[in-house]
């Protein structure tokens, strides 16, 4: 966007035209308590040069943290080639182009992305991506409701083992649409069939996280079959990296799940303090017309050459207006570009190696941490991917605080979201950790707990 200066009289004329007294009036609807008047520890008198120097110094404090926190955002190695390619002028846009077919390269990339995601998830169709994992879950639930011809039951089953932030986002999006969320307890660290058997009444879908928020593997086959046997849809919420090792949701149970969604961040997207990430959404062919978002298809032009085009657009709001499938009309194009290049460069074998190394590191971490008196896995008999909950002899929040001083991010304190888990730390290992890192973490933890 060009920098367009306005004179004071320009500004006055524009304000007058819309009936506002001042620029501040335009932001009137933002509650006063959310407006930051000044930044703590940034002197008001500092000039640009001084502020830049201060920010560089602050930023450098972040750089060397040894990170064992996951909880939805995972530190994987991102080969240098990926963002070098993403940064090329041809790719460097956050959006699907408005004159989409004029940008064949962009459409081809999205088509390749969709193909990779369908192979990874074992589904028929993937869209061009969603905003993030949490909103993708909400869209999957809305899609499930829409796909019930007679109108869904307006009720979905969600285990407590789904990411708490995803559950909050889901509630924020579907609550006012009259969809009830039934939260199922998971005291064993995963959703047990016995818990499901107690469910009364109709429901539209069962949400199945894999691995779940505790890093535990759910009994996905049994859960999928259970939901589908009751005429409901099964929605898988997966870490795409884990699919390099685990069974793809398209093959869960007798028929495979109906919808797969999740956050694509592990595939080449930097953690960058929590976002932007991208969400993915894939489904079986029979419900594709209820799928939100853009879909790129491959076709041939008049001369028989391969071309790419947006397809099934009649679902979308620019054609279907008020009856559109969803209001989502954009996606995370740039991050999808990164993920596609990441998957292409890493390849199926590379992804397997990353996933294997991450899982092996967790086993090493667990073995080492359990040598510390009072530290043990919270769900010791369950299978895990690359993240696990650890019971500590002290409040997890205090331990995290204490290790932060040594530039070690110990993990995520579960007590904030799960009652009775104040002493439980959720820790994660990716392929980026080695034996020395694990030893450094363990020693720091020993000191903190002594």
């Amino acid at each position: 966007m060009p920098f367009l200066p306005h004179t004071e009289s320009d500004v006055r004329a524009m304000l007058e035209a819309i009936g506002a007294n001042s620029i501040d009036d335009l932001f009137d609807e933002i509650p006063a308590n959310l407006i930051i008047e000044s930044l703590a520890n940034v002197p008001e008198t500092a000039n640009e040069m001084e502020v830049v120097r201060l920010m560089k110094a602050r930023a450098s404090q972040d750089e060397t943290t040894l990170n064992f926190a996951g909880a939805g955002a995972y530190e994987h190695h991102i080969p240098a080639a990926i963002w070098q390619i993403v940064g090329r002028g041809e790719f460097y846009s956050a959006y699907t182009p408005y004159q989409a077919e004029a940008s064949q390269g962009t459409l081809q990339l999205i088509y390749e992305y969709q193909t990779m995601m369908t192979r990874l998830t074992g589904m028929d169709i993937s869209n061009a991506s969603m905003y993030d994992g949490a909103t993708a879950v909400a869209e999957a639930v809305l899609m499930a409701e829409r796909s019930q011809k007679k109108g869904g039951a307006r009720r979905v089953l969600v285990p407590e083992s789904l990411h708490p932030a995803y559950r909050r986002t889901l509630k924020a999006i579907v609550d006012l649409q009259g969809i009830e969320i039934v939260t199922l307890p998971c005291p064993t660290g995963r959703l047990e069939l016995a818990t499901l058997e107690a469910v009364q009444g109709e429901f539209t879908a069962l949400v199945i996280p894999q691995p779940n928020f505790f890093g535990v593997l759910e009994e996905v086959d049994a859960l999928t079959d259970w939901a589908q046997a009751r005429g409901a849809l099964a929605i898988a919420v997966v870490n795409p990296m884990s699919l390099a090792l685990l069974k793809e949701p398209g093959n869960w149970g007798a028929r495979g799940v109906d919808i797969v969604c999740g956050d694509g961040q592990p595939l080449g997207v930097p953690m960058s303090s929590g976002g932007p990430y991208f969400g993915f959404l894939a489904c079986k062919k029979d419900i594709v017309r209820n799928m939100p978002g853009r879909i790129v298809g491959r076709t041939t032009d008049l001369d028989g050459r391969i071309g790419y085009t947006l397809t099934l657009q009649a679902r979308e709001q620019h054609i279907r207006r008020a009856k559109a499938t969803s209001n989502i009309c954009t996606n995370q194009g740039l991050l999808v570009t990164a993920a596609t290049i990441y998957m292409a460069i890493t390849g199926p074998e590379g992804l397997r190696r990353v996933a294997n190394a991450s899982a092996a590191n967790l086993a090493a971490l667990r073995a080492r941490l359990e040598k510390i008196p009072g530290v043990r896995a919270r769900f010791p008999t369950q299978a895990h991917f690359h993240e696990a909950a650890f019971e500590l002899p002290k409040p997890a929040r205090d331990v995290i605080e204490s290790l932060a001083g040594q530039r070690i991010l110990a993990g995520f304190a579960l007590g904030g979201d799960f009652a009775g888990m104040e002493h439980v730390l959720l820790a994660c290992t990716t392929e980026t950790k080695n034996a020395a890192d694990i030893e450094a973490f363990a020693q720091a933890l020993e000191t903190a707990l002594a």
């Binding site: 011809k149 007679k150 017309r289 009649a314 679902r315 054609i319 279907r320 009856k323």
Partner: protein, 131 residues
Amino acid sequence: MSEIPGDLKFLKSHEWARIEDNGQVTVGISDHAQSLLGDLVYVELPSVGDTVSLGAAVAVVESVKAASDVYSPISGKVVAVNTALADKPETINEDAYGEGWILVVAPDDMDQFNDLLSPDDYAELIESEDH
């Protein structure tokens, strides 16, 4: 544009209705409607047993450039749907008044049928819309 069969009645929104020998009413979209929509790629059908009311959306036809609701020209119960359209939606483009039928309704009130537009009135309507 094909000839409008004389035994049909129409809604302004371009649906046709025909009384069959057994008193049931077959419903489709007009040849004019299919030509405006262009190549149809998908038809969303109601289920047999659904209750439909005059003027309410009962099906959706989707072409490469638009998706439109199909409104029922009569109230009653759906007794048949043209499942062949699932694989061949283009049948509506090819034969809107014949093989391209969409559903059959067992009507509640035949008076509604008599209030629909005659073929001549409908021809006049689309003539005036064209100008």
